[in-house]
Symmetry: C2
Subunit: 263 residues, 2 copies
């Protein structure tokens, strides 16, 4: 379904800005007067004049400066503040359009605002974005260790500075997004003994390989079909070859995890 977004901003229960007023403001800017702007926007002069007076009053400072008399009888122009509001409105609409697109994606969890925002079009070069909740905080070490319980039940650890933990207002139960760059993810057979006890270890099965010029991309399905992506360099000694369907363990260091959270 094609959805158009109409955004209205109210203050004290009265419309401050709505689509119709925005169209009017645009036409006033274009035409240089309220009367011509009203005609161009397809509304009556009274409607236009009332709208302008109302907006100016609600904002406390004018969006439209008006002059009576003079050459051409006077006229009206947008103030810098009026121009700024048009910009803001345009931006808010674009953001809402991204949000609507994100929300129509069946994969996003509607229970999680973070899930929507993280898929709202902000792509990072960090390939893996895992959503979970803070399960434990260890403020004792030099690097603050954060345990994050993913939605599929897996547990991962992130090392961040104590200062960052404070800044993100991390606390048990808070929802976080863990960013892990694909080149930092290493793969091994699931049966292999742990070599680095400190590493995160996520078990899954190989579901796809994409061969590139310099890197091979391995797509792994974790528990609950949570996707994970690893990039393995083809330069240097040839990697162990894995087969589709094979159970694997994906490893990455806690200090390479970036956490993101809302507010």
């Amino acid at each position: 379904m094609e959805l158009d977004i109409l955004l209205t901003l109210q203050t004290a229960g009265r419309d401050f800005i709505n689509p119709k007023r925005i169209r009017l403001l645009e036409q006033i800017r274009e035409q240089g007067s309220i009367s011509r702007g009203a005609k161009a926007a397809g509304v009556s002069y009274k409607f236009a004049w009332d709208a302008v007076a109302d907006m100016n009053a609600l904002a406390g400072r004018p969006l439209v400066s008006r002059e009576t008399g003079g050459k051409g009888g006077g006229g009206a122009r947008l103030t810098g503040y009026g121009e700024r509001l048009l910009n803001i409105y345009r931006l808010l609409n674009q953001i809402e359009a991204m949000a609507v697109a994100a929300v129509q994606d069946e994969r996003v969890s509607l229970d999680s605002l973070l899930s929507v925002v993280s898929r709202m079009g902000l792509q990072t070069s960090a390939r893996n974005q895992l959503i979970g909740r803070v399960e434990q905080l260890n403020p004792n070490d030099i690097s603050h260790k954060v345990s994050v319980r993913l939605e599929n039940g897996d547990l991962i650890h992130a090392d961040i500075t104590e200062r960052s933990a404070r800044r993100l207002k991390l606390e048990t139960g808070k929802e976080v997004l863990a960013l892990v760059k694909a080149p930092w993810v290493q793969l091994a057979c699931a049966s292999e003994a742990p070599s680095e006890a400190r590493d995160n270890r996520l078990y899954g099965t190989l579901v796809g390989i994409d061969q590139g010029a310099e890197f091979d991309e391995y797509r792994i399905a974790l528990a609950g079909d949570e996707p994970l992506c690893a990039l393995v360099s083809r330069i240097g000694p040839p990697a162990t070859s894995f087969r589709i369907g094979e159970p694997l363990v994906a490893r990455f260091a806690p200090d390479q995890v970036i956490l993101a959270t809302l507010e």
Copy 2:
């Protein structure tokens, strides 16, 4: 100014969902019938019935399932799809509220959608977020080298995989956000000779020091007052002491830069 956000979704020029209809849907869920829901929402029964029929028709599948007759005369309940739409609407409103808050921040550039989105409440443990435009792409190396021109004129480089560059649809002129973790930024006197030619080198002046238990936070003002933050461990050999106002150079490795972009 306190702004309330009213969101309306239209399709084919007709209202699909608007605040009044949302209030109605909520009350129908609460009350178990259209007539009681209408009363609770403060609208007439005809208005409510028309709205429900209209929404069901526009969506192509029912938001509200209705039954006539039976014990209690029948009733109406939200379908799963109806519940989902309520969730979506709630989320969209929250996102828009974040956007409105971000946009009221005088610091954000209204010319840049990316600037707004990046400040829309998504905090990362990567302390430095620098906005700029791609100036050059070097697709030849193993690691794709991306040159980013910041708004203040500075130039930085990021090493990312060729695959990521494709995924982000990087091209000259595209706006990007560079994430750099504060612990990865190293400081030196501005006069000091470059030790690692590959590193990014940004010149600025020290404007503040925040002493912590394990890390000292140095705040640097780059050209155009662009802020940069470096964390220096207090463990190990004591760092050179810098003075407020002193010109410094901040260095960080290109492969530690994460790029983010929209779409």
